[in-house]
Structure formats: C-alpha cells, structure tokens
C-alpha cells in the first residue's frame, strides 16, 4: 500500500513538472521578440499592420494572456506543438520523423557505454593498483575534460579522412539501395564513429562508478563468506558481487537522460546525423521558435518520463529503496 502511494505521488509530481515545462515554454515564446504573426508575414515577404492583426486574431493572439496559456496547454497535451514555417510541417510530425535516428544512436551508445564501462570497472576493481585502474582514472579524466565535439572531430579526421574506414557524415549512402542486408551494413558503418564519441562521455562515468562500488562490495562480509566457502574469484564477482554493485550504476544511467540529449546535439551536429539534435541545431540557427520550443518540450518530457521509470523500476527491483523517499 505504501508502495502504491509513493508511485502515485511520483506520477503526480511528474505531471506537475510537465505542466511547469509547458508554462515555461509559453512564457519564453511570449518574452522572445517577434510572434507567429511576424514569422508568417516574413514568409509572405512582409505585411501591413492590418494583415498582421488579422493573423493575430485567427491565431487567438489578441486574447488575454491566461486564455492563450490555457489553450496552449490544451494543445500541447494533445501533442499539437504548433506549425513550423521554416520546415512547412507540424512540429510534432517533424519530431517523430527525426526521432528514430536519434534513438538508434543514443540507445546503442548507452548500451555500449554501460557494458564496456561496467566491465572495465569490475576488472580494474580487482586490481586497484594495476594498469587497468590507472587506465580507468585516466580515461575518466579525459572524458570529463575533452569537449565531446572535439573528440568527435578528431575521430573524424583520423578514421574517415586519413584512414578512410568510415563514412564522413550522415546516416546512409544514397547509392546503396534495395538490398536490406547491404543497407543495414551501411547504416552500421555510419554509426560507428558517432556511437563511440557519444559513448565515451558516459563510459568515463560508468567505469569510475562501477569501479568504486565494486571495490566497496568486495570489502564486505558476505564476500569474505563466499571466499571462505571456497568459491573462485570469477564466481564471487559475477554471481555475488556484481548484482549488488550494479544498482548505483543503473541509477546513474537513469539520471543521464538530460545529458544524453545535450551530448546528442553536439555529436549529431559533428557527424551530420539526421536526428533530433541536428534538427534542434538547424532550427536554432534558423530562429524557428515553434520547432525549438517543441524540441525543448519533447526532450523535457523524455527526461521526466525516463526519470520516473528509473525511479519506479528501482523501487520494484531493489527492496532497499522501496519505501524511503
């Protein structure tokens, strides 16, 4: 019952946060110089004051602030994020077009970072003064300090310009068509560099944390018991210790949704990956306000839902966090 209650409160908080994001979006749209009427008249090549007022009336821009806000919230909740005059498409349609590419990139990168990171962390935790430990610390420092777009460009210079292993930009080669197998190989070839770049940010984070938690777990009593039972190191690590050291890493991974969005923007723009990040970048350069705010709302939605799911999953899986706030 207590669990059900916490779940209900969490969902309610998520709803309030979402509402706050919508209000923030609306507020910024109002504060920013220029409105919908201006951008329509711009795309028509200019209009006089009377036409502008007519446009404002049809879009309800002459109504009081609070009524406009209400109708905006209603629209956003129906996922109507407005119309982009730059792309001449509804914003929600644009977002759903670009979403699969970003999901492909981001999910692959996260999986890679988690698997390699946890493995590196576990491996180096067993050898606190070995080379692998120094490598993890060094790599963590590098991951924190190198601008992600720079490491992406370095990979690009190294592995697609000088050694021409991978394509320079985009997601697929237009000349390869028809054959499903060849198309898949082509997309994978395009993915390699952006995935490595994006994963490198999180790899540093995960390997450092899993190394720290693993070392803590290895010092605990039940591991000593397992050792005295005569289990091998491999059995101890993978059957006993890993389970308990994984929980903080998963929590951390669940908190990265916001960082993932930021990373995706930079990485996609380096590799011209046709996803949401590139869309965000292009729409900002074009000052296409509806698209910009639509993406901001959508990514905040992803972060809120992602955090909620992580929180609920942990509560269900790990009895230690079930009841406390």
């Amino acid at each position: 019952m207590a669990l059900l209650y916490t779940i209900a409160t969490r969902i309610m908080y998520a709803g309030i946060l979402l509402l706050a994001v919508i209000i923030l979006n609306f507020g910024m749209m109002h504060l920013a110089p220029g409105d919908v009427a201006d951008s329509i008249s711009q795309s028509m090549g200019g209009a006089d004051e009377q036409v502008l007022n007519e446009i404002r009336a049809t879009y309800g821009l002459d109504k009081p602030f609070i009524i406009q806000l209400g109708s905006y919230i209603g629209k956003v909740l129906r996922f109507d994020l407005g119309y982009s005059f730059f792309y001449t498409q509804p914003v929600s349609q644009l977002i759903f077009q670009k979403l699969p590419a970003t999901l492909l990139l981001v999910i692959t990168a996260q999986f890679l970072a988690l698997i390699v990171g946890v493995f590196l962390g576990v491996y180096s935790a067993q050898r606190p003064n070995g080379i692998s430990s120094h490598f993890v610390s060094f790599f963590a420092l590098f991951g924190y300090s190198a601008p992600v777009f720079w490491s992406g460009l370095l990979l690009l210079i190294g592995f697609s310009l000088h050694i021409q292993w991978f394509p320079v930009a985009g997601m697929r080669d237009v000349t390869i068509e028809g054959n499903f197998f060849e198309e898949t190989i082509d997309v994978i070839r395009h993915m390699v560099l952006p995935v490595i770049t994006l994963a490198s940010i999180f790899l540093a984070l995960y390997s450092r944390l899993s190394r720290a938690t693993m070392m803590e777990v290895l010092g605990s009593d039940y591991i000593r018991t397992a050792k005295s039972k005569g289990l091998t190191d491999r059995e101890i690590i993978y059957k006993h210790a890993l389970k308990n050291s994984l929980s903080p890493v998963i929590t951390l991974a669940g908190l990265q949704f916001s960082a993932v969005v930021s990373g995706a923007i930079l990485v996609e723009s380096v590799f011209s990956w046709p996803g949401l990040g590139t869309l965000a970048f292009e729409s900002i350069i074009a000052r296409d306000t509806p698209t910009i705010l639509g993406i901001l709302f959508f990514s905040a939605l992803v972060v809120i839902v992602g955090n909620l799911l992580t929180d609920l999953t942990l509560r269900l899986v790990d009895p230690r966090v079930r009841t406390n706030k």
């Binding site: 190198a146 601008p147 310009l161 972060v303």
Partner: protein, 290 residues
C-alpha cells in the same frame, strides 16, 4: 627541556594544513602552474602579441610552423596564435563569471532550503528538480537563441542551467551543520537567522562548495565551447569553440585549425579538474587518511 614537550602537538591553522595536503598532490600542483600560465597569457598575451585575431595576415590554411605562424592560419588566413590568445580571455572570463553565477544561485537556494526546512525547502527543491529535467545544453541554446548571443546572456544561460548541483550540495551541508552544537550555541547567544546562515553555517559548509565551484569553472568553459561551436556566440569576440566551429568544414585541408583550439580547451579544463581533485583532497578531511 623536559621529556613531555615532544608529545605536544602544535595546533596549526587549517589553511596551512590544507595547503600542505594540496602541495603533496604533484599532478594538482603542476596543473595549477599551467593554469596560472594560461591566465597570464589571457591577461598579457594581446599586449605582447599584438596581432588582431580578425585580421587576414597570410594565405589561408598555412600549416603550423611555416612563414613564422607557429599555429598556422585558418580558413580566412587569420593568425591562429592570436585567436588562441584572445580565445583564452573569453573562455576564462565566461568560465569564472558563469561559475560565480552558478555558485551565487546555488548557494542562495541551497542555504534557504537547508536552513528553513518545511515548505520553503519543499518549494525550492521542486524548483531545483524542475531545472534538472530541462536538458542543459538545449535549454541554454534556447535562451541564447531567443534573447541574443551576447557574452552576458551566455553567462546567464550557463549559470541558469548548472546551479542545481551546487544547490543540492549546499542544502545537504546546511542540513548537517544546522544541528551541530555550535550553531545552537550561537542561536542561544542571540544571532539572527542571517548571521546564522551566512556567518556561522556557510563558512563551515564551504569546502565542498569550493571544490564544486572549481569544477564548475571547467564545465562552464566546456559549455561555452559547445555553444560557440554551434555558432551561438557573440560574433564580435573570438572564442576557442567558435574557431573550431567555423573551421570544421575544412578538416581535410587543415585539421590543425580544429585540433589546436580543441587542445587548448582540453588542457585548460583538464588542469581545472586536476586542481579540483587536489582541492578535494586538501579540504575534505575524511579523505585524508586514504
């Protein structure tokens, strides 16, 4: 001299102790020296090397070391050395002032939440949570795009998206310290809330905040680099990220126009992280025994 003297441990000023701990960390000391040099370059560089970073001085894409241009020239034939020097100014100014904004907002919010508890804490922590769900880079991009790309706006945008970590740390420290005896004692001797918060509790909460502030300078520099790489920067100033962004189309002809400014960002932020690590060791007594 009697025998008991050798057992007397002299009380030392905490700063002296921290300084000694810091100087034991060789990596941090070297990093601090390099940082100091970078700051000197940022301050005196433009006077000692009076080349306008916007002037076309030679043919475009002249490789490093040739024709007297140590770092070569970019796609418009501008001197990269001059651009790096002027870029250092922008990076450091934005890094430090954004960290200042971050710490100011974060400490104010965290101190209020941790000190007053109750509904104040509830409201402030909800606001903090709200700012945490906005994707940082995207939100900063939106602010800069909608309200103009001046250095002030970039600083505010970076501050607005990164204060939440400082607020959480400050709140946690305040929650811990407000229950200690010396705070109760000061309260009993008539200190008002303002004095308690900023005169008694804050000085004792400072160590982790200082470490976080140092790291904030680094992340603000990275943040500014990312924004200006995407072209969201004041067009009238040179910054490292902007040099990379404007030269990225010419990777094959002149990779060095991208690698050199990137290395400048990397080295600066790396040094800041190392100094931050050193400060953490020096200021956090719990870790000293390790």
């Amino acid at each position: 001299m009697n025998n008991e003297d050798q057992y007397v441990v002299k009380a030392r000023h905490p700063f002296a102790e921290a300084f000694e701990m810091f100087s034991k960390n060789i990596a941090a000391v070297i990093a601090l020296i390099i940082l100091f040099l970078i700051i000197l370059v940022a301050i005196f560089g433009p006077t000692l090397y009076p080349v306008d970073p916007f002037d076309m001085v030679w043919m475009p894409f002249s490789p490093p070391g040739e024709e007297g241009f140590i770092f070569g020239t970019d796609y418009l034939g501008r001197d990269l050395v001059a651009m790096i020097i002027h870029g250092a100014r922008v990076s450091i100014i934005i890094g430090v002032s954004a960290a200042f904004v971050t710490v100011f907002i974060g400490v104010s919010v965290g101190a209020m939440a941790g000190f007053y508890r109750g509904w104040v804490e509830e409201v402030l922590m909800r606001i903090t949570e709200f700012f945490q769900v906005l994707p940082t880079l995207l939100f900063a991009m939106v602010i800069v795009a909608l309200f103009g790309a001046s250095l002030t706006m970039i600083t505010i945008a970076i501050g607005a998206v990164s204060w939440t970590a400082v607020a959480r740390i400050t709140r946690a420290e305040f929650l811990r310290i407000r229950e200690l005896e010396y705070v109760t004692a000061s309260r009993a001797s008539g200190a008002n809330n303002f004095i308690l918060m900023f005169g008694i509790i804050l000085p004792n909460a400072l160590p982790p905040i200082i470490v976080q502030a140092a790291l904030m300078v680094g992340s603000a520099i990275l943040f500014e680099a990312g924004l200006s790489f995407l072209g969201l920067t004041d067009p009238n100033v040179v910054s490292w990220g902007q040099v990379i962004g404007s030269n990225r189309s010419y990777l094959l002809d002149a990779g060095f126009t991208v690698t050199i400014p990137g290395a400048a960002i990397f080295i600066t932020v790396l040094c800041i992280s190392l100094v931050g690590d050193g400060l953490n060791d020096a200021l956090n007594p719990k870790l000293r025994q390790r």
